[in-house]
């Protein structure tokens, strides 16, 4: 288990990181970025997997199953939607598509 103050430091540093990362984002990327950050919290799937993995009673298994199902939807859906949005961003200065690394 994580010690209380250590966790507090973690929360604080992560919060600053999130704030810093997004404060330099151009407006044109706000929607893809919201969608991208939506995908990032899809990591919750890992937590739900562990919850279902530790489930012993049928009730816990049902709750765990719902958790994994929802978490996987968050991750998969968030990824597809974000990638679809981002693959459309092209610059007129580099008209040939594929300028970005694949």
């Amino acid at each position: 288990m994580i010690d209380g103050f250590l966790a507090l430091y973690l929360f604080m540093l992560a919060a600053f990181t999130g704030h810093e990362i997004i404060s330099r984002v151009p407006v044109i990327l706000h929607t893809p970025l919201m969608s991208g950050s939506n995908f990032v919290h899809g990591i919750v799937l890992v937590g739900a997997m562990i919850a279902l993995g530790e489930a012993t009673t049928p009730l816990q298994q049902i709750i765990g199953f719902i958790g994994v199902f929802l978490g996987a939807g968050n991750a998969a859906g968030g990824y597809v939607v974000t990638e679809r949005m981002l693959e459309m961003f092209k610059s007129s200065k580099k008209p040939a598509a594929g300028g970005e690394n694949k």
């Binding site: 990591i43 937590g47 968050n74 679809r84």
Partner: protein, 477 residues
Amino acid sequence: MQTAQIVSFLIQASYFVAAVLLILGIKRMSSPVTARSGIQWAGIGVLVAVVATFFHSGKPGHVLIENAALIFVAIALSTAIAWVWGKKVAMTDMPQMVALYNGMGGGSAAAIGASVLLDAAMSNNPEHALTMTQALLAVIGALIGSISLTGSVIAWAKLDGRMDKTFRFSGQQVVNGACFLAAALIGLYAVWHLETQWVVLFFALALTFGVLMTLPIGGADMPVVISLYNAFTGLAVGFEGYVQGNIALIIAGTVVGAAGTLLTRLMAKAMNRSISNVLFSNFGGGGGSAQDIKGSLKPIEADDAASLLYMADNVIIVPGYGMAVAQAQHKIWELSKNLIDRGKSVKFAIHPVAGRMPGHMNVLLAEAGVPYDLIADMDDINPEFPNCDVAIVIGANDVVNPVAKTDKSSPIYGMPILDVANAKQVIVIKRGKGTGFAGIENALFYQDNTRMLYADGQDAANKLIAGLKAVDGGGGH
């Protein structure tokens, strides 16, 4: 024992790699050039963590996690549905899809909370007992996650047109407040007295509150709400991560929580609404004593509008959500290319809340093939309007309404707007005479230098292209 330690070490290492990839992924998504690789890095991060978790075995001698088959079925089923749906949904419908997927994440975090709390409440095994901090954070995370789940589903239903825009009744705020207070107090009580019935009641109230809270919010404010729920889910994931002792979840969740909160504030600011204003007040209901607008609406035919464009050197196009609804962005880009071929400067002016989320309009224009360096932010383009010969407003309304600067009694007073009113000539393409989201008349439409082109967006663009070709025989210069 030795191998178990190695496996455990590898799982922890893969979580660390995942956390690094997720943060770098968001970082790369903050520039248009690297954005595409950003989501791919983040994707690899989650994939690595998920694969590693399959080897998180609780019992000695077992290679895979318990219930591995069940987990696999749940992931396969959900991924298949979400993947197919996400692939085929139209770009205009993206905001509600983000809302839905975000709600699922919130629900997942709430399920983790439910699982941990019920486990502690039902079993006598001291191994399953929670510390006070764990129980408290499990409850808070579950509360936020539950609100995000049901609230996002309502937001999705509203934006997808599956539900009437608003549900309001007198005393609604009191009912909502009571519901929230009850959920919070019972949740708090359950921290000290972990019993099944309190946990169940707590979840019922929390889920109900998510619905109640979102029902009275109108469509115009939905982007702010979706963004807020996105931040909520992030926080919920972070808190449940603490309960489970999973640092990757804490970091990823908190980063999203902080970034989402900032994004929500940026959005609310662009709409000149405080977050509390969005959540607790009704918009566009009262209105009342708006100033009378002088002048008249002056219609124009497409051919005449094409001639105006032919004479112009600097053209600025101001698209709004109406253009996207009419699916006119491809035609408008074709029109723009026709203008560029004739040696004119064409720019697209985007209000921060054009579309339904900040940047949504950029995505829609990008889909039509408009290069992003022709697209200008409000702050960059506003000084250029006085030099603009013709500004074309298509499907935008409130974001170009000058009463936001002049009429203190207007509900949109103070909202930053695009200064289209300063252009030498304005052409407004519009289907009919209706008002915008805010339900107020637009003074721009009544200005002396404004002409109204009443047509469907695609039709109008087609006619303008034909009109341009009629003027110079189709060849350009």
